[in-house]
Subunit: 368 residues, 2 copies
């Protein structure tokens, strides 16, 4: 998922661009991350009021410039019922700046998929600060430690949480990232299950070394390509292949969606009956918020950290696990993850074993 | 428990005074609050290194002077295994000052009984700041909201927690004290069950309106009187009666101690068989960390917020619930609580109904 020549870096995000971003972020959300359209409405309202958001290339951030990612944290089902107002974003940023000596020059998404791809736009518009064209996952992942930045030694703290009631909790010192995350999770539960968080602040050097670059532009390019394919009636998978390396791995009809909610996660399995070239075969997708493993007839076709995304076969509309229904015809796409995830410091955080599977990592070829 | 003419305000706390304070605080701990002798050893070490602690009368604190109480928070059993080093106290105070515009001029105990009566001395000695001769309970109570200061509208936040691993969590804004306490409790659990806390900061006016005045001097006076009585072989109850209004309510032998640990509290009942003037009668003391209710032959003899304290009959040594053993001969003493607890804003926090008893408050006469 390196940005190739086919992705033009975006320089400004206006209302229409937000819609493209949300569409692309649904694909990069790999079934989870929450439906970005809700966050998109908030971002559009903020841009309408305060003006478009300038996008900053990671290369343009100085080594002493502090970039602070903001996100929603908590159980996805709760997050969707408690979409934050701008107020919580103001509170975490004010709290964060109070703990810092350096000014915050920009914000950034912590993940490129799902609702958290659009939340930072609300802050950027309200504050008049730019959004850095990068993120800490290149997709969505279900657990807070599954971030390239942590693997690269970026500290999770100072970490500031705020909720809709105006409660503000800060972790100003922590023994390590695991402790910071354990404390943050406990606070989020006490805040009712979801909160706005600012954490993993990083400077230009850390950004260039460990963030996934140009993932905002990538999501926008994916969204635009899907929109164009739909308008033209052309093949959506062919439209996005050259942009993100997406390949069709299975085509089928949903025969069952088994879901349980445990400890703030939605876990389950999606069963598919093959159609067209896959007629006569079956496939299953395991998910924990996000899609983790695609298997067919006993063989693993794709697995984390690579992206497994489902699109509606006719329209190319990316599908979330929540939106999945019996009978839908889908393409299951595989998309190679950011190469950062294959670094030895990072892979243990997100390989199949990190999700409890006794499966060796298998890496998709990037065929762009 | 107003300080009467019989209590001389203490001006300086040296090593020997710490021992007297710890002895008196065991009585005011009403069975709970942790054994203050462990905290006393820490305070004595800090005073040996940094010099004696000056005691400041509440009347001497200006209206713009900020006083910050510090304490251990968490399950008493965990607290006793994790007595804080001075480091955690430094961390909470530094975190607290960072959230404030005003300098911290003094510290103060949040409770007059148990281990938290001596913890602030460690900070005061290390920092070279005075200790205010007051507290927020005039005794020990098991729950964080059971503090006169909260009843008087003093905010629980900013609230800073630190643990032995160096984790620092701050609540810089809260919707109300209940929210601040819920968030703090969640963080304490994630910190392993106990932490050092700085909260309920107050100015001179709030101190004079809502803190229990001169309770440090009172604890020291009680400790000195008990020590003298033991040395002279005189009656310990008679020795402390004129100081704190203590009265003997029952004399007996412990026949049973039933204890269960639930949700961080030690709950249970102590059964007594009467001796001497109480021969032939029985009594029971219910406790939740602290002693709550004394009953004999179906009648309630005393109840919270008044103090129910047990002393060993021969020596006058105050007894904690933890130190209670089958067969010990004890006097059960009643001590009138601070009159602040009988104000309409305060009583609902600590009357028997706050502990789940369907019993109207009964107020001991202050016979000093």
């Amino acid at each position: 998922m390196n940005v190739t020549n086919s992705v033009t870096p975006v320089e400004v995000i206006d209302e229409e661009t937000v819609a493209d971003l949300a569409l692309g972020a649904t694909l990069l959300g790999t079934g989870g991350g929450g439906d970005p359209r809700v966050g998109a409405l908030m971002a559009q309202a903020a841009i309408r009021e305060h003006g478009p958001v300038r996008v900053l290339s990671p290369d343009a951030v100085g080594d002493d410039g502090l970039v602070v990612p903001v996100a929603m944290i908590g159980a996805p089902t709760v997050i969707l019922e408690r979409i934050p107002g701008g107020h919580e974003l103001d509170l975490v940023m004010r709290g964060f700046e109070h703990l810092q000596d350096r000014p915050v020059i920009a914000t950034m998404p912590i993940e490129a998929g799902g609702i958290n791809s659009t939340i930072p736009l609300v802050l950027a518009a309200r504050r008049g600060i730019p959004l850095v064209d990068a993120d800490g996952m290149g997709r969505a992942f279900p657990e807070v430690q599954m971030v390239t930045l942590g693997a690269g030694g970026v500290r999770a703290w100072p970490l500031v949480l705020a909720d809709e009631s105006g409660n503000v909790v800060s972790i100003s010192d922590a023994s390590d990232n695991a402790a910071a995350e354990r404390l943050a999770r406990a606070a989020v539960v006490a805040m009712g299950g979801s909160a706005v968080v600012a954490h993993y602040a990083l400077d230009g050097q850390q950004l260039r070394d460990w963030a996934v670059p140009h993932s905002v532009s990538l999501a926008i390019a994916i969204g635009r390509a899907l929109k164009r394919a739909r308008a033209e009636g052309s093949d959506p998978v062919e439209a996005i292949g050259p942009i993100c390396g997406a390949r069709r791995l299975f085509t089928g009809q949903v025969t069952e969606v088994a879901r349980t909610t445990q400890a703030g996660f939605v876990r389950g399995q999606l069963s598919l009956k093959g159609l067209d070239v896959d007629a006569g075969r079956h496939a299953e997708v395991d998910f924990q918020n996000e899609n983790l493993i695609l298997r067919s007839e006993g063989a693993v076709l794709a697995a984390v950290p690579d992206l497994i995304s489902l699109v509606e076969a006719e329209s190319g509309q990316p599908l979330t696990t929540e939106g999945m229904r019996y009978g839908i015809r889908v393409h299951v796409l595989g998309i190679p993850s950011s190469p950062i995830w294959w670094r030895p410091e990072a892979l243990p955080l997100v390989e199949p074993r990190a999700f409890g599977y006794d499966i060796d990592p298998i890496r998709m070829e990037d065929s762009r």
